[in-house]
Amino acid sequence: MLQISRSLVQNFSLMDSTSKTVSDQAMEAEWAEVQAAQREPTLFQPLYRRYYEAIFRFVFRRTNDEQLTADIVSQVFLKAMQKLHGYKFKGVPFSAWLYRIASNQVAQHFRDTKKTRTVSIENHNLTDLAEEIAPTDNQHLKDLLIRSLEELKPIELSLIELRFFEQRPFKEIANILEITESNAKVKTYRILEKMKKIISKKMK
């Protein structure tokens, strides 16, 4: 019988990485850059340079196709520039807005092409996720984990990806998905519970 860990909430706080959160001062400085770019498009370049690699990696994990990723990322930044005049600083990093556009562009691409989107997992990420499900190191469990991912809804998978495969803090996840931080934690906890049930059934 699979032992289910009950200390998930504590585990979440241990996993939280503050290195990816953006300070208020940095956000304020960036907002000034955004405003400058709103007035003069050529001034978008610093933002483009700053986030190109991060957005590229975000999209690449979901396509596993370098050229396709380059094209989608080009569309992401084009859209960002076109919508920039309507952007308003709301106390969240500018990157969160870019990630949302990227997420939508990826989803749109796979809807249009009716192709399957990729979920990229590195081994150490899978280990972290497995530890949340059960403390024992078990290759069989990891295989079941991968299979359980296939039964998640797209939004559920996004949360697992952002949290465990991309190691993003809850605050950043909340900003990207436009939900509250506590909501992000609760949803993640419920998804893990769901995955545990899936795995339990498969183990019987």
Binding site: R49, F56, R57, N64, D71, L78, F89, D112, T116, R117
Partner: protein, 600 residues
């Protein structure tokens, strides 16, 4: 459970930065942006601008020959946009250049001289100075050196002043903006000081290693959820900038007045006050009810003659009756006594008890020639026996005997029954009146509760049920910091950029442009004053929703103002605006004159 169609890649290998870097091409993106149809949708809509079909996936490679053909023309267009030589736009650089050409501390009204607190100090001993508002400054011994770098001894003068609000900041001419790594911020202040020392008129500097401890008291207005996270900045007049010196230690003093309540708390308090008023009015009204129905007078039972007491057998005529204290007038008293004597022919007047001075012998043996009677109360009368050359006063009661007494008792019982009926009637009327009052009070309370419940729910629905609202609460705070140099020290924090930005022009009511080079703006929510280069085409920034005031100093040292209500004329998303300022025709002689004009 339904399986979604995902391709799990568990052997994911991330790309290197170099692999990613080769795809970056901002110039191509810029060209694509300029050539693509402009997006009108909201930033968060899902509608894509360019649909990507798999067979038509664009490759940027074919764009380059096209771009090359139009590059020269586009460069020209871009340069025209960047160079405003042909337009009225005032660039940020021009504005900065103007301010850089001016004295760094530039009081706008030169006739207003700064007002310092000046105190003497024995440098060898140091000293502590306390100011009226509670601020203190502690100067250590041996704190100053002169222009030659030599330690100063003996008496020095310490000059100190504080700046607390937008008027102080404006009059001082001290800039409230700050350059941090090339980005300009407006600074919001929690109090600012200037402190310097002189000896024989010569300015001194701080002895290296010494510092002044400052406790600056300030009233700050902030929302309930404001972290009050201020820093300490020192004004470097050589670098022409504020220098960050560390975090401010801010302590909120115990509230001298009640902190402002959230809207729901205020509504609750108002409701409770309303209930208290209703309760008070209820008590007053109930007390008044007693007076609305006359209380019947209880009949006095007849008094039987006491065989051991002295009695007088007297008959009074009207002229013997004097005005008494019984509440009715003299005529009524005479009529009443006449009727009494008529009804009870054998009525006697008995000496009232507890009159040790009554001389029974004298009363009986003296030949009294006259008498007077005065009613004292319901049952007591003052009898005055008048002789030739003497008189005697004694309190007497009318008493009855035999058949008179029995008849009187019958009459009394009848009267008393009538009285009891009248009393019951009165009580019934009082009860009815009280009932009506209580019903009215209950209605009022019920209406008040309904109104309160409705108001409370409305406020809750509007999210105004906690203190984290935009309402400003006043705090008295103490900023504690160490001044390592003499000069100007500020407890500040950089403000987020103000979101409204438009091209401005400044005119008076006669459509004439002002010759003033600087416009000032104060925002009621942020304790600062912003400066703008007041030329046509300059960019003015402010917060849409806060109450604000804009003004310039005219050539003849008057103030021309743009009042808060006029900002309502500026529409959302308006790109430019001519500020028509009203010149206030008042000579400015003191800072109080400025404060009066700029009050908002």
């Amino acid at each position: 459970m339904k399986k979604n169609n995902y391709k799990i890649n568990s052997n994911f290998t991330p790309l290197t930065p170099e692999q990613i870097g080769k795809h970056t091409d901002f110039e191509a993106l810029l060209e694509q942006f300029k050539n693509a149809p402009q997006e009108q949708a909201s930033p968060d809509s899902d509608a894509p601008v360019v649909k990507m079909k798999p067979t038509e996936r664009p490759s940027r490679r074919w764009l380059y020959p096209v771009l090359a053909a139009v590059a020269a023309a586009l460069v020209g267009v871009v340069m025209m946009v960047i160079n405003p030589a042909q337009s009225d736009k005032v660039t940020g650089e021009e504005a900065l250049a103007y301010f850089a050409s001016q004295p760094f501390i530039n009081p706008p009204i030169k006739t207003l001289k700064p007002d310092y607190n000046n105190n003497s100090l024995n440098v060898n001993q140091g000293g502590t100075f306390s100011y009226d508002n509670g601020s203190t400054v502690v100067v250590p011994p041996a704190a100053f050196v002169n222009g030659q770098g030599n330690l100063v001894e003996g008496a020095v003068e310490i000059h100190y002043r504080e700046f607390h609000d937008y008027v102080d900041f404006f009059v001082s001419g001290i800039p409230m903006d700050y350059d941090s790594a090339g980005t300009r911020y407006q600074l919001e202040s929690a109090g600012m000081i200037e402190i310097f020392a002189t000896q024989n008129g010569e300015r001194l500097t701080m002895n290296p290693g010494k510092s002044i401890e400052v406790k600056l008291v300030h009233d700050i207005y902030a929302t309930a959820d404001d972290p009050l996270d201020f820093n300490i900045y020192r004004l470097d007049t050589e670098q022409r900038n504020w220098v960050y010196e560390g975090k401010n230690k801010l302590e909120i003093l115990p509230a001298e007045e009640a902190a402002a309540l959230s809207p729901t708390e205020q509504a609750t308090q108002n409701y409770e006050a309303q209930l208290a008023t209703i309760a008070k009015e209820e008590k007053i009204a109930i007390d008044k009810i007693e007076a609305t129905v006359a209380k019947p007078v209880a009949p006095v039972p007849p008094v039987k003659a006491d065989k051991s007491a002295h009695v007088f057998n007297l008959k009074f005529t009207d002229d013997m009756i004097e005005a008494g204290n019984a509440g009715n007038d003299l005529d009524e008293q005479r009529v009443a006594l006449r009727n009494l004597q008529k009804q009870y022919k054998n009525m006697l007047w008995q000496v009232a008890p507890n009159q040790p001075d009554f001389n029974e012998n004298a009363a009986s043996n003296i030949n009294w020639v006259d008498m007077k009677l005065r009613q004292l109360n319901q049952n007591d009368y003052e009898l005055t026996l008048i002789g030739t050359g003497n008189q005697m006063k004694v309190t007497v009661n009318p008493v009855l005997t035999g058949a008179d007494y029995q008849q009187a008792m019958k009459d009394f019982n009848k009267s008393f029954a009538t009285y009891e009926t009248a009393l019951a009637d009165r009580q019934a009327k009082l009860n009815a009146a009280r009932e009506a009052l209580l019903t009215e009070i209950a209605d009022r309370k019920r209406m008040a509760k309904m109104a309160f419940d409705k108001r409370y729910e409305t406020l809750k629905a509007e999210g105004k049920d906690n203190k984290a609202t935009e309402e400003l609460i006043k705090h008295r705070v103490v900023n504690t910091f160490t001044a390592t140099n003499l000069g100007i020290w500020n407890c500040d924090r950089p403000l987020p950029p103000w979101l409204v930005s438009l091209e401005a022009d400044f005119k008076n009511n006669q459509e004439e442009q002002f010759n003033s080079n600087v416009a000032f703006l104060a925002d009621q929510t942020n304790n600062t004053v912003a400066r703008f280069y007041a030329k046509k085409g300059t960019r003015v920034q402010y917060n849409q929703n806060n109450k604000k005031l804009l003004w310039v100093v005219t050539k003849d040292n008057k103030l021309a103002v743009y009042r808060p209500e006029k900002f309502d004329d500026i529409k959302n998303r308006q790109r430019s605006h001519t500020f028509v300022l009203d010149v206030v025709d008042k000579e400015i002689e003191t800072e109080e004159d400025v404060r009066e004009i700029l009050q908002f």
